[in-house]
């Protein structure tokens, strides 16, 4: 047996969209394999195919050199593959051993559960793999890290030899992450093969034996971990082949008037983990400030903080001299800030509502659209028609729902809406993610026009080329902190990639 898992030209299409395009993955027995790539690169699709949750459109999967066709996770477990999901699937009110045995209970007299023998089995399993857990403890009393161990135990009990972990460290603290890596290495020593999906490069370097990089549904690199470094991986992950036509040619001097100031902004996610840590920056008048970083390093949370969807635990935000920390999105918009949210369909638009209704969202308080709190249908339609014309939005049915638009045209509605009330600052988060080149061009053009009018933009994007070609100044985020600031004219992509991987001369100082 050469490879534990081998895929040949594995392809998955959803309609016209190719999520996985001829993926070649080779996993050796008893190794820890990391699969890295940004959100939306196709990692999860690949894993779902390996775990039998999706059926490939084309290509083959070999397990222990034998071709397999898996129709459900049951087939996968039968083939010795176990998966630990990002969101744990545990019953909080049951104990550890009950969770592990769920669905595989040991019976007594055919009807009763043999609790004693179950506890013994689970304890033996814990001892074998050196897991420090109390089988009688209820899962609801466990920390996130321990819950994850219960998930792993569940799979080990089902005697799998290949363990897939989907973003295992997303919810863990740094200490818990270290413990997890130690656990995984122990499992490897005892003969298990482990696949970790992640976009955290430091963990790749710490944990894995080999690494495969996926970008845009394709394998763009496969190497032994000891032959590579974080910088190379970061470049492979974010390097783009999109050619951008719009360029920012009018750099704003850094001594221009400050209009937006963020000081020591800090927040925690719902798991109590600090995801944005003491971030400070300012935006000058007429400037585009780019915020770059590998996804999951706090940019999403930062945008939520700046746009009023998340509360800061510490720090301040001020705009034109006024304190706007922790204001509601409507107040922020009233203060003169436009917001293009990260997720087009979740936060930016409402698919089930008409184009017109979407064109006024967030500004439905203002005249002429709103008169005595009654909405003026004719004025709304007028506004909608203006936007459609100005932004070249292609619509089928003008009275139809937003759901009928393509991604690019839907995004244009958001940009048109947010710029329509002439804000003095625009927070643009992933303004062109996943849309066609034509729409990208229109949006970039409008953003630069807007800047030329003396307004400022905070541009958050995972497309490094977009950031580099539009921004006057770029700050890079790593692990919820700012790891550096560069000027795009004088900086190479490689240098930015380095910062995105958290490699920085005074990194150690910042950590403390």
């Amino acid at each position: 047996m050469k490879y534990m898992i081998k895929t040949v030209d594995l392809t998955k299409k959803f309609g016209d969209f190719t999520a996985n395009d001829h993926i070649q993955l080779n996993v050796l027995p008893c190794e820890i394999k990391c699969i890295v790539g940004e959100n939306g690169a196709g990692k999860t699709t690949l894993m779902n195919m390996l775990y039998g949750m999706l059926e490939p459109t084309e290509g083959k999967i070999f397990i222990r050199d034998e071709e397999v066709r898996m129709k459900s996770p049951v087939d996968a477990i039968r083939n010795g593959i176990g998966m630990v999901h990002q969101h744990f699937m545990l019953v909080p009110s049951l104990t550890v051993f009950e969770n592990v045995m769920l669905g595989n209970e040991i019976e007594k007299y055919g009807v009763l559960i043999n609790k004693k023998s179950e506890v013994e089995k689970v304890s033996a399993l814990m001892q074998k793999y050196h897991f420090d857990l109390d089988p009688m403890e209820k899962v609801e009393n466990l920390s996130v890290g321990s819950r994850q161990r219960v998930e792993i135990l569940k799979m080990l009990y089902r005697d799998v030899s290949i363990l897939i972990l989907d973003e295992p460290t997303a919810v863990l603290t740094p200490q818990e992450t270290d413990e997890l890596i130690a656990d995984l290495k122990e499992l490897k020593n005892q003969g298990k093969t482990i696949i970790i999906i992640t976009h955290k490069l430091r963990e790749v370097m710490d944990a894995s034996d080999s690494v495969t990089v996926i970008k845009g549904g394709r394998t763009v690199g496969s190497m032994l971990t000891r032959d590579t470094n974080e910088r190379e991986l970061a470049q492979l992950m974010v390097g783009r082949d999109v050619v951008l036509t719009q360029q920012n040619n009018h750099y704003t001097p850094r001594n221009a008037e400050k209009i937006y100031e963020v000081r020591n902004l800090t927040t925690e996610n719902i798991f109590g983990k600090q995801v944005v840590h003491a971030v400070s920056f300012e935006v000058h008048k007429g400037e585009i400030l780019g915020i770059a970083g590998v996804e999951g390093n706090g940019q999403s949370e930062l945008v939520k903080l700046l746009s009023g969807l998340m509360k800061a635990t510490e720090g301040t935000v001020s705009f034109e001299g006024k304190d706007i920390t922790n204001m509601w999105p409507d107040k922020i918009r009233k203060a003169g800030i436009g917001i293009i949210p990260e997720d087009r369909y979740a936060q930016g638009l409402c698919r089930q509502m008409s184009l017109g209704d979407n064109c006024i969202a967030g500004y439905h308080d203002k005249p002429p659209v709103n008169k005595y709190n009654l909405l003026q249908r004719k004025k709304i339609n007028l506004k909608r028609d203006e936007m459609i014309h100005k932004y070249d939005i292609r619509v089928g049915d003008i009275n139809g729902n937003v759901a009928t638009l393509s991604g690019g045209n839907a995004q244009k509605i958001i940009v048109a809406r947010e710029l329509s009330e002439h804000p003095r600052l625009l927070i643009a988060c992933q303004p062109t993610r996943g849309i066609d080149i034509g729409s990208i061009e229109v949006i970039h053009k409008r953003l630069l026009e807007y800047k030329a009018g003396g307004n400022s933009i905070i541009l958050i994007s995972s497309e490094l080329t977009e950031i580099m070609s539009l921004s006057d100044r770029v700050i890079v985020m790593y692990k919820g902190q700012i790891s550096g600031e560069v000027e795009p004219q004088q900086t190479s992509m490689t240098e930015v990639g380095l910062l995105m991987a958290g490699i920085h001369t005074d990194m150690e100082g910042q950590k403390k």
């Binding site: 999706l54 746009s307 979740a346 936060q347 439905h364 009654l374």
Partner: protein
């Protein structure tokens, strides 16, 4: 406009089909009883829609259900599930009955206004409990409102059988309201009162609120995409409170009105069975959470109620056949309901796949 009209036509057709299905199943049962279903339905509709008194009675019974239907619709449409309209209605009816009896010194118009305002306020206060629990403690409003109904019914039962019991009545009830508080019947032999016009004004107000106003826009946005509503600056917490209070006020008003135009005293069967608040839920669903739809659905449903007695009188079919048809409508509506508002579980699965 094409898309919108098509959608509306589809929704109306859906409902006509389900009502027809219910009647067909009712018809089969009638056939086995040994009567001609068409004849029975003819009597049912003739009495409740095509005689003056019958039609006015139908409108009379539709009144409170229009209000409770609206009360349900404005919350359900925003994806908030206020199951406590029945409770608001009971508390509104109770307070209107007590005040109507106690404040007998007041002249007619002020007394009615006081009774109705008190009913609306108490209905609101009742809904406020669940709204606060939802906003401050994230308690599921569906569970809270549903359970509170029973708690409230027991409290009112206690008050009716002890403190406020009318000892002269031969059954458990509060004192009868004074003559000045009563809405008089003004259309010959029918039960219809002037309160029905109050209801029509309220309906008109809610038509504008839901269809034309900013609040209606917010309701639609919240109902379709909560995250979107929040991200575009609609203060979701504040709006939940507003909608719950509006819903409670409508429920309370429905109860207060029902007290002063039909019941005159609070008894343990004040709202009937299954209860006007619960009927409101059916009507809101049948009417597609749309004010016009709710009006039509309420009148149709009330017509079934009025016609039931005629069936009993003129045929061998028991009037319970109407209850059967009503429950069939509920059953088929439930199917429709789950198609339109997908259960989150299934939605998530579909997304992952």
């Amino acid at each position: 406009m094409n898309g919108k009209i098509e959608e509306t036509v589809k929704a109306v057709l859906n409902r006509i089909v389900l009502v027809l299905l219910a009647f067909i199943i009712g018809g089969i049962v009638i056939f086995f009883i040994g009567e001609n279903p068409l004849n029975v339905y003819y009597i049912l509709f003739k009495k409740s829609f095509f005689t003056t008194t019958g039609f006015l009675n139908t409108l009379h019974y539709a009144g409170p259900m229009i209000l409770t239907g609206l009360a349900i619709a404005i919350t359900f449409k925003a994806n908030i599930y206020n199951m406590g309209v029945e409770g608001s209605l009971l508390s509104g009816g109770f307070i209107a009955g007590i005040l109507g009896a106690q404040l007998s010194c007041l002249p007619s118009v002020p007394l009615k206004i006081i009774c109705l305002i008190a009913a609306a306020l108490l209905g609101m206060g009742y809904a406020w409990i669940a709204a606060v629990l939802k906003i401050k403690f994230r308690a599921n409003e569906m569970v809270v409102t549903l359970m509170l109904n029973y708690a409230l019914a027991k409290v009112l039962e206690y008050l009716t059988t002890s403190v406020f019991r009318d000892l002269n009545a031969g059954y458990v009830s509060t004192k009868i309201v004074s003559n000045q508080a009563v809405f008089l019947r003004i259309f010959g032999r029918s039960r219809l009162t002037v309160f029905f016009f109050v209801i029509l004004v309220i309906l008109g107000f809610f038509y504008i609120l839901m269809k034309k106003s900013k609040q209606g826009y917010v309701i639609t946005a919240m109902g379709n995409n909560f995250e979107f509503a929040e991200a575009t600056g609609m203060n979701v917490g504040k709006n939940i409170m507003i909608l719950m209070l509006l819903s409670g006020a409508l429920g309370g008003l429905a109860g207060g009105g029902w007290m002063l135009e039909d019941q005159y005293r609070y008894t343990l069967s004040f709202s009937g069975s299954p209860g006007l608040g619960w009927d409101g839920m059916l009507i809101a669903l049948l009417g597609g959470h749309d004010p016009v739809g709710i009006f039509i659905a309420a009148v149709f449903y009330a017509g079934l109620k009025t016609g039931a007695d005629s069936i009993n009188m003129y045929t061998n079919v028991p009037k319970e056949i109407v209850a059967l048809i009503q429950s069939m409508i509920v059953l088929f509506l439930a199917v429709q309901f789950f198609q339109k508002y997908k259960i989150p579980l299934f939605k998530k699965r579909a997304k992952e796949a």
